[in-house]
Amino acid sequence: MHKNYKLCSVMVIFLLSIIFSSGCITSEDEIDPTILRIKNAGKLVVGTSTPYEPMEYIDDQDNIVGFDIDLANEIASTLEVKLEIVDMNFDDLIDSVVAGDIDISIAAITINLERSEQVLFSNPYLNAGQVVIFNVSREDITSPEELNGSRIGVQNGTTSQQEAEKYTNASLVFTFDDYSTAVDSLLNNSVDALIIDYPAGFGLVQNNEGIKIVGNPFTDELYGVAIKKGETALKNEIDKIINSGVIETLEEKWF
């Protein structure tokens, strides 16, 4: 018996030494002052601007929900703080970030040069570029390149109109003042396709039967999280969350 006992102890020591030697050696990171400030406050103040379904809107129970809110939640829980949502005018969001009234802003803000000069943007988390919407009965067209010679419906004065003219004859581009008539035209085949930005297109497809989004956005209109300039550590944290696969889950949930 003593033989087996010794054998076991040798095995156990061997195993333990492997486990300990391969065990992770974690070093305490020096906490960045921005993150420390948020942690000390115990809450992350996120500015947003409703309604913009499905990114942020007020649901039947008067709660602010949406893709961006979930993302904000994800960031807050990673930082181990509570989340405070501030609903404000879209035009005031960037200024509030600059002024430090809010920590960050997540409100379907398209990253552009002008805004980039005022705030620091996270890496893009969603492409709200143009998509093509078809009547469900059409299965012959799968990408905008195949739209040549088709009748395309767009909303008057949007970037969608410029995009549509790239793919078909300008005389075949029909403009609508609102999307409900555009959808009707699509359903009764007055037009072959609609070109619309992704979140709005998604909303249409959700609320109307018989139409579908074909393919991915074919232009880039990228949403980013607005952060105060100089707060690189916070940007890095948020970039990490964006790259961690959370976005895919949220896309599945909201689109």
Binding site: V10, I111, N112, N123, N127, K229, G230, N243
Partner: protein, 484 residues
């Protein structure tokens, strides 16, 4: 001998250490190679990405439109998860003209040396960086515009995901290594057990049996190797040993029978001689004849004594001897013996000090134990020359035995003789014509003590320094002895 480290334990240790060494070094080499391969492939991927970005931006019509550039690089970042940051430097006339970065905190001065290098030579520079728990790779690559160097990119890649995959793979590799080393160790041990340990144990058991007297033990090992040969030799040896032992036993039996027969035949005619001679002595008036008869009587008595003791020893040696075991009080027995001997003791001016102050109960044959006392005290009387002589008798308990010592201040024994005193017919001094001694007393005592499961030995500090005889007998134990 207590076994501290068995052969199998030592072999196990050797096997464990060897396989651990082999597997750790193999795992180490494997991991290192994988890491190198991974890093190589990753830097190739980074280069390919930089070239793809170059191609996409290079085809742009309005390269210097910052808004367009920003959208371009953001799109690139969005579609490539590993890309953390892209900066575009477009110098003109030696100074930075356009700088666009996905990180608007940057102003274009970072890595200016490397940017300059790339801008001058068109070569791709890779700067790996490792902080707390992330792996980064900065790639600085040239921007080509219609085949001409126009500026540089600075692309920051995160290698974390790939490193995570790598470490997951490494972990699997370690698990597999551990698993296989276990399998190897266990199979090796099983093999070792079958080929070495089991034969060794079989042989060991056989040796143990033989040493316990079971000479019919045979070993069967059918492995056709050295162990089988060893087993064969062992069996041959045992067979020889058995047959020789049988022969010796037979001879011993015959010897005992012969002695017994002879003793019996000698004793029968001696009885009338020793009984009739005193009568003859009384009838004879002539003093001279009386002396002669006396001499004959002494010698006849000596001869009778010798024959009686020889018979006794032969009887003790015979397998048919039976002892009447019972609860015996040593003190009682000793007092009885001393009473019987009191005349002899007084005559020789020998004082006996009996230190036994309580009864010791032994499980023994009453008459035989009395014979031991009788023999030993007689011996002491015989070999005490000083007057007054002294005999000290003591006893004490030792575990489940009682140790009795009989000490005298006699002539003692020299060390060379101590080993022989228990031999049959041995006398310490052959030259001494001693009618009282047969040389069998101690032999008989040893035979009796050993048949009782005890032990007897003699100690003496030297000539004329006295002798102590010790013997041990089993104490009476009601639990064990009554059940038997």
């Amino acid at each position: 001998m207590k076994r501290k480290f068995s052969v199998s334990f030592k072999l196990t240790l050797i096997v464990v250490f060897m396989s651990v060494f082999i597997f750790i070094s193999m795992a180490y080499l494997n991991i290192r190679e994988q890491t190198e391969l991974f890093e190589e492939s990753y830097s190739e991927k980074a280069e390919a990405l930089a070239q793809a970005l170059d191609a996409s931006i290079g085809s742009h019509t309005q390269l210097y439109d910052k808004e367009e550039l920003l959208n371009e690089i953001l799109g690139f970042i969005y579609h490539n998860e590993d890309v953390l940051m892209i900066s575009v430097n477009l110098p003109e006339n030696g100074s930075l003209n356009v700088f666009v970065s996905s990180n608007s905190d940057l102003s274009g001065s970072i890595s200016s040396y490397e940017n300059q290098e790339t801008y001058n030579n068109g070569k791709i520079i890779k700067i790996p960086e490792e902080n707390d728990n992330s792996h980064l790779l900065t790639v600085i690559a040239p921007i080509h515009l219609s085949g001409q160097l126009a500026g540089t990119y600075e692309i920051l890649f995160s290698l974390d995901e790939s490193y995570n995959n790598l470490s997951a793979r490494t972990f699997n590799l370690i698990l597999i290594t551990i698993f296989f080393s276990f399998v190897l160790i266990i199979s090796f041990l099983l093999l070792m057990r079958a080929t070495v340990i089991i034969p060794i144990n079989t042989l060991k058991k056989a040796f143990d049996k033989i040493s316990k007297g079971d000479l019919e033990t045979r070993v069967s090992i059918s492995s056709h190797d050295e162990f089988a040969e060893l087993a064969n030799s062992f069996n041959k040896m045992t067979q020889d040993l058995e047959s020789r032992t049988r022969d010796v036993e037979k001879l011993l039996k015959e010897k005992n029978m012969f002695i017994y027969q002879l003793g019996h035949d000698l004793k029968t005619p001696l009885t009338p001689i020793t009984t009739l001679l005193p009568l003859i002595k009384n009838k004879v008036k002539d003093e001279k004849i009386k002396e002669m008869v006396d001499a004959v009587l002494i010698n006849s008595n000596y001869m009778k004594n010798l024959v009686t003791k020889t018979l006794k020893l032969a009887l003790l040696n015979s397998p048919n001897v039976k002892f009447e075991f019972e609860k015996v009080d040593l003190l009682n027995l000793l007092n009885q013996t001393l009473r019987n001997k009191s005349y002899e003791l007084k005559q020789n001016n020998i004082e006996v000090e009996n230190r036994l102050n309580k009864s010791f109960f032994v499980y023994a044959d009453n008459l035989r134990v009395q014979e031991i006392f009788d023999n030993l005290i007689s011996n002491s009387i015989k070999y005490i020359e000083k007057r007054p002589g002294k005999i000290t008798i003591d006893a004490r308990k030792e575990k489940d035995m009682v140790l009795v010592s009989i000490k005298d201040n006699g002539i003692g024994i020299i060390p060379e003789q101590i080993d022989h005193v228990f031999d049959n017919f041995y006398k310490a001094d052959f030259s001494r014509h001693d009618h009282g001694s047969t040389g069998l007393g101690l032999s008989i005592c040893r035979e009796i003590v050993e048949k009782h499961g005890g032990k007897i030995w003699i100690e003496s500090p030297g000539e004329n320094k006295g002798t102590t005889v010790y013997f041990k007998l089993k104490l009476y134990n009601s639990k064990i002895n009554e059940n038997n």
